[in-house]
Amino acid sequence: AGTIVHPKATIFAIAGPIVIGSGCIIEEGAIIVNRRKEVMRIGDDNLFEIGCRVESPTVGNCNTICTRARVHHTLRISSYCVVGAGVLVVPTEDEMLDEYTVIYGPAAERRVWSGRGKVQEMDLRRKHAEYLREMLPKFNRLRRGDGA
């Protein structure tokens, strides 16, 4: 309900099912892969930016996985996390990211966000989703019958 998936995004439920919540935005070139047999659950209001690759078995709410980030399948993401652009998050053992964690920089440093500004960010995301909902059908050449 309300999730936007770009036509060029890839959702690979190879081994197990993937459940995606409402209000998520999956942008172009994003790859969501589930190679495990368990269900991969993704929460609400997440933003998967262009070119990112997510294999994490659990993703919470209101996260942002920035452009070209790569998240390993050993990492579980909780809510309100941000994985920065181009960051490769590969922990060696199973790990769970706390809420409000930000991972940034080429060496994947972490720090905790104070949560300030999250209302505005959620607002922005909702506006982003609405805009995409209007615009994408107009430009989708494969489904021209529906949109125009």
């Binding site: 941000v82 930000v102 440093e109 720090r111 966000w113 104070s114 300030r116 500004g117 505005q120 506006k127």
Partner: protein, 558 residues
């Protein structure tokens, strides 16, 4: 280890000959073509090392606002507007309003009440999500932040101390500068800024061992200065120096450290001019330092080589005398390496990227005991056709350690064969003006000493291009091939200096043609009308390292 070619800039040295390329120190004299400039007056190549640089303007890299040089000093080289640097990740900070108060649950809350948002505003980094509220800096208005921060800066203990110091020394500075006999300009200093007064009297200070320069009578000034010096009372600082600068607070902090990340990293601290706090959580946002636009001049004739535009956002130049517009661009390729790479690509498609890179390197390697041909592609930037002549550079006389050592050295180095006759390169013109390509290809190679070397299109390494000569001529590019013979005992890099000289017809009423190579020659003649001009430069051609193998792993098709 791809083969490359670099150009030599003599950098105003006396001998025009370049140093032998195998010495590691000589790599500083050689530059790729895009780093070089060309002075038309002196007719010489200039590189970044010998050019004189001056600042042409300052701008803020964030807001692209050009700062007039007068305010640069006033604002201490920082942007005066709202541009700040995140202390954590050194990205730019944005000014952000706080969240509106949440009374209802956020799911259905309306859009933020006003477009400007609500106070208090704070700085926020989009990349690492740091915000200035963590260090306690908030603003009431979203603009003019620098002024609001100025209050904080001024109340820092260091700047208060500095102010007190200035006040303390001011009367003495005025007294000493007014009584000094320096040229009349100093008498105006009585009413100026104490900083300038301090600077000028520091210049006039007594330096032991150096006689004081004084256009007027010396002894009078010396005596007066000495008298004044004894009248300085002691300066009482505001804070006890011992405790302020002692590291006790720092030691305590370090003792209670839990993780390394609590200490501020070096990159985070050194942009700050003052001593910055040790702990990462205390780092304050900094105003963004200004960057400068520079213009470059030729060191000998002071002609401007590079002059950027005044606008900060434009990357173009008003004057741009780069060497690429005058010197032919040369590209070196090893045809056997390319052929091997093609074969590899076609056969193995599933090897990983790292393995492929290694194989490509191995394919291009120069194996001792073989001889390889290499291609040099010359691109002519001028609007006239030119004639290029290549020569091996003569190394300057080296001290011989002994006859035997020199003999061995000479035997074990590689031999180069270059086409020795002059070959033309066509003029540069727009793409649609060129004649049909086939016409140029069938031109006869006159004056070639060696067996003709006309391979089809020249890119195919399997063609019979073993010998030396022109390979291909197309539009304004000519490809010639040379040969390198590597004896079995050779080691190291295959690098040799090559002298390239070319003659071109110019419209200036300049001198007669000189067939000499070796130095940029321009004899002054009285002839009018278009004449041939001559220019030459040295380059170093690096073909890669010699790899020693018993038998070749890949059958290079030669």
């Amino acid at each position: 280890m791809a083969p490359k070619i670099e150009y030599y800039c003599p950098c105003l040295s006396e001998s025009p000959h370049p140093p032998p390329p195998n010495r590691p120190s000589s790599s500083y004299s050689f530059h790729p073509l895009h780093n070089l400039f060309f002075c038309e007056e002196c007719d010489a190549v200039r590189c970044n090392r010998c050019v004189s640089v001056e600042v042409s303007g300052y701008y803020c890299p964030n807001c692209l606002f050009e700062v007039p040089s007068a305010s640069v000093r006033a604002e201490k080289n920082r942007c005066a507007r709202n541009c700040f640097l995140c202390p954590n990740c050194r990205n730019t900070l944005t000014v952000v309003p706080s969240d509106p108060p949440e009374d209802v649950d956020s799911r259905m809350s309306p859009i933020v009440s006003t477009t400007l948002g609500e106070p208090p505003f704070f700085l926020y980094c989009n990349h690492c999500r740091w915000d200035s509220a963590e260090v306690g800096i908030t603003f009431e208005k979203p603009t003019g932040l620098a002024a609001q921060l100025q209050k904080f800066e001024d109340s820092a203990p260091e700047s208060l101390e500095f102010e007190r110091l200035k006040e303390h020394f001011e009367p003495f500075l005025r007294a000493s500068s007014s009584s000094s006999a320096l040229p009349s300009a100093s008498s105006h200093h009585v009413h100026t800024n104490p900083i300038t007064a301090a600077a000028s009297s520091a210049l006039a200070r007594d330096i032991p061992g150096v006689g004081k320069y004084n256009p007027l009578s010396r002894s009078r000034v010396g005596r007066e200065k000495g008298a004044h010096r004894q009248e300085y009372p002691d300066y009482k600082s505001r804070v006890e120096v011992g405790t302020a600068l002692s590291g006790e607070a720092d030691v305590e902090f370090l003792r209670h450290l839990e993780t390394v990340s609590q200490v501020a990293a070096l990159e985070q601290r050194w942009t700050n001019s003052w001593v910055s706090p040790l702990s990462a959580s205390d780092l304050k946002p900094l105003r963004i330092p200004l960057q400068s636009k520079k213009s470059k001049r030729c060191p000998s004739c002071r002609h401007i080589l590079i002059k950027p535009e005044q606008k900060a956002q434009s990357v173009r130049f008003k004057i741009k005398l780069v060497a690429a517009n005058y010197l032919p661009a040369i590209a070196v390729t090893l045809p056997h390496a390319q052929a091997a790479i093609e074969m590899l690509k076609r056969t193995s498609k599933t090897t990983s990227a790292a393995a492929q890179a290694e194989e490509q390197q191995a394919a291009g390697a120069l194996i001792a005991g073989h001889s390889y041909s290499f291609h040099l592609a010359f691109t002519n930037p001028l609007y006239d056709p030119i004639q290029i002549r290549l020569a091996k550079a003569i190394a300057p006389a080296q001290t011989a350690e002994g006859d035997e050592a020199a003999e061995r050295a000479r035997r074990s180095t590689f031999q180069i064969q270059l086409p020795s006759a002059a070959f033309p390169v066509g003029a540069f013109a727009e793409a649609w003006e060129y004649d049909d390509e086939d016409e140029a290809m069938f031109l006869d190679d006159d004056g070639m000493e060696v067996v003709e070397a006309r391979g089809k299109k020249g890119k195919d390494g399997r063609g019979k291009t073993r010998s030396v000569g022109i390979v291909e001529k197309r539009a304004n590019v000519t490809i010639v091939s040379g040969e390198v013979l590597i004896p079995k005992e050779a080691r190291g890099d295959v690098k040799f200096n090559m002298l390239v000289s070319y003659t071109y017809r110019s419209d200036d009423p300049e001198p007669s043609e000189e067939a000499q190579t070796g130095t940029p020659s321009r004899s002054h003649g009285a002839n009018k009308g278009p004449e041939m001009k001559n220019f030459s430069f040295y380059t170093v051609v690096d073909l890669g390292s010699i790899m020693y193998r018993e038998e070749p792993k890949l059958t290079a098709d030669l």
